[in-house]
Amino acid sequence: MTHPGEITRRQLLRRIGLTAFVAGPGAGLLSACATAGGGGTPSSAAPATTLAASADPKNPFGVDPNKPLEVTIFSGGYTDAYAKEIHEPLYKKAFPGATIKHNATQQIGIQLRPRFVSGDAPDVINNSGPESMDLVALAGQGHLADLTVLFDAPSYDDPSKKVRDTVTPAVITNAKIDGKDLVLNYTVSHRALWYNARLFEQKGWTVPKTWAEFTALGEQAKKEGIVLFAYPGQVGPYYQTWNMLYTAAKIGGNQVIIDIDNLVDNAWLADPVKKAVAAWVDIQAKYGDKAYFGLDHTQTQVKQLQNKVLFYPTGSWIENEMVKDIPDDFEYAIAPIPDVTPSDVMPYGAIQVGVGENFVVGAKGKNPQGGLEYLRIMLSKEGAKGFTQKTQNLTVVNGAAEGVDLPAALRSAAKAQDAAGQNIITDARFEGWYKELFDYATEQMNVVMAGRSTPEEFCVNVQKKADEIKKDSKVSKQTRSE
């Protein structure tokens, strides 16, 4: 028979003794492990590194043609084939003497955080996925190269045109952190409600334009055993946070979201926000099914493919995401959010068009010039077209998808964008700026949609959190004007 109690007590004492011993002489040594100890430059004196531009339009950043380049790609939904088979060969073609170290991972932060701390970051980083890094924190330490030179450089295809004139304007407005252009958003996505166009044809239904039509369709669908609307309560509940924000912007204009992003006092208590929350809570209560609170995004999306869900709030990547499971009688199409009130600021047809998929260049890496050049190649017609072909997603490069055979979802999205014209709902940037606030809002979203709090309480709770973030001097604040 052992004497476990006795042994554990002794071990405990011994451990405490050992701890004291190691903490004494070893403390200095140990402190060098994770945080690289003292002696580093103070963070305030670490601005983003600006690289000088050279005069040669073929090589505007003065890339050393023989210097190796390291590229890290998030191998998520897009996989890394576009980098390996399109962009990297293009770089090799331009600089045959350079070797490219290609690294694909789903754990960007876990792999790269220690390398940033030790000053050995890759040159091009596709910062994406659930383990992505906090770019504001990286920018604060001067780890991100300034992309202004890239945007002002001659474009790859036409030297008389600057890069900034070949991409959709949202790229420039979304590049800023602390007022500097540090992030390249590479993809364009269209977000609103997605439905099965074939099912609508078959049933003779039309896409609802007003909330009354929307609920009337809900009644009809209910009879057929179809849920009018569902979002995944697990893993992807932020789809509904987006949807609610875009609905608020539709009711009250983009200023609603801009105010929320700028942490304007009582931005969450604005009338359009309350109305948007109340409208969706009502839809969930009358035409939804609480089972979806316990399903993740894939499970919910599969149920939509089985025609059990009519409208699903997501983006134009949906078709590529579900491509293996789409049955023959299913065709993804986008539906704008119906008019909530007769006096919505944005007319019917407004959808959200946003840029995404972050690429940054490590300023303290070995070859930042090569990194900038790599991004310039990505923004070439050939590079962008290749990306669209590989991933079935559009890029920010104007006209790069011409002649590419696009899937139904993208064709529908392009048509909706044409119809929307100037009525484009903006993206909510506090998702990246103040992740804690976004997560909290999403948490509260599930609570209010399940009917465990009122829309009023939702707004008050999230506003309280926004006030906390605003007061917290340690959170670096971002602002936007458009």
């Binding site: 028979m1 052992t2 004497h3 476990p4 109690g5 554990t8 007590r9 405990l12 050992l18 701890t19 190691v22 903490a23 070893g26 403390a27 140990l30 402190s31 492990c33 994770a34 945080t35 690289a36 100890g37 003292g38 002696g39 580093g40 430059t41 103070p42 963070s43 932060g109 876990i110 955080r113 701390v117 383990e131 906090d134 924190a137 990286l138 604060g140 330490q141 780890h143 309560g233 697990q234 893993v235 099914d289 609480k290 089972a291 979806y292 609170f293 316990g294 399903l295 499970q299 149920k303 992740k435 804690e436 997560d439 999403t442 948490e443 599930n446 609570v447 399940a450 465990r452 340690k474």
Partner: protein, 304 residues
């Protein structure tokens, strides 16, 4: 000289494991204490010291207190439920069949049950999580709800109703843990001399009497170890809860636990200093629990 040689010899053997242990176990602990006093964001080369500010922040953090409340429930329920069930099963397996020839034996088929009970222990926690997500799935495809719906009942949102989510999680933890404690207690029971049972049986003691008057008192030390282990497990739950209910403690924070919160604060919000402060708090909670349990349950030991 003699002494030096003796200790030098021992130290020679110990130096490698001690160095490894110091570098990979002790030093991260100490560093967590150090980082908890800073505002480190995970990227800065030299974080600024902020004193006890992070710990002060903990006191106003609703999520932290909610996590503590959940740990409190776990701490009360998980060890008790697991130990009671495990004791019951191991008693049945080892002694439940009554006396037989030279000693006691288990109920019929006990060898089979002994193996089956251990199965959940062999599965990785992530696998258990995925398995129970399928079992708890709230629609007609859920293992439990599929049956409920077929029988004409309303489906139950096992992991989405705030009133039952934590209990559903605890049920999985108990399910997974019981097998190990059945084996542990079986070993303890095997060490109890058979004469005690025979003597008691001759005096006319039934199975209940045998269990409460002989088995349980003689298993005290083993149960105590189990209690400490399970108590420490009640402060964890990271992997299982991540898979079952995600990192937001859904629904409504009722499945919030500290390890998940630490992970999220550090890796999602880049607040390594604050996350380390939570880690330090968790460290002291666990140590306090272990010391208290061992202290309060100490008693004279019976030698046999």
């Amino acid at each position: 000289m003699e002494r030096l040689r003796k200790y030098g010899f021992i130290a020679g053997f110990l130096i490698v494991p001690v160095v490894l242990y110091s570098v990979f176990v002790i030093s991260p602990y100490i560093q967590a204490f150090q980082i908890s006093l800073t505002d480190w964001d995970g990227y800065a080369a030299s974080p600024a010291y902020v004193g006890l500010e992070n710990f002060a922040k903990l006191f106003d953090d609703d999520a932290f207190w909610q996590a503590l409340r959940n740990h409190g429930i776990l701490l009360l329920v998980l060890p008790l439920a697991t130990i009671v069930i495990a004791l019951f099963f191991s008693f049945l397996i080892n002694l439940g069949g009554g006396s037989h020839g030279a000693g006691m034996r288990g109920i019929w088929g006990s060898k089979f049950y002994r193996v089956v009970f251990f199965f959940p222990q062999v599965l990785a926690v992530a696998v258990v999580g995925v398995l129970f997500r399928a079992i708890y799935r709230p629609d007609e495809y859920g293992v439990v709800n599929g049956v409920l719906i077929k029988l004409g009942f309303d489906p139950v949102g096992w992991l989405v109703e705030p009133s039952i989510a934590l209990w559903a999680v605890i049920a999985v933890m108990v399910w997974q843990a019981v097998g190990f404690y059945v084996v542990l207690f079986s070993a303890g029971m095997a060490a109890i001399p058979k004469d005690y049972f025979e003597a008691a049986a001759l005096d006319g003691a039934g199975r209940f009497r045998l269990f409460f008057s002989i088995t349980l008192p003689l298993l005290r030390d083993t149960v105590q170890v189990g209690w400490v282990y399970l108590g420490i497990a009640a402060f964890d739950g990271f992997a299982l809860i991540q898979v079952l209910t995600g990192d937001k403690g859904e629904p409504d924070g009722t499945t919030h636990v500290l390890p998940v919160q630490i992970w999220k604060t550090a890796f999602n919000y880049s607040e390594y200093g604050y996350a380390s402060a939570m880690g330090v708090a968790l460290f002291f909670l666990t140590v306090t629990f272990a010391v208290l349990t061992l202290r309060t349950t100490r008693r004279e030991r019976i030698e046999f």
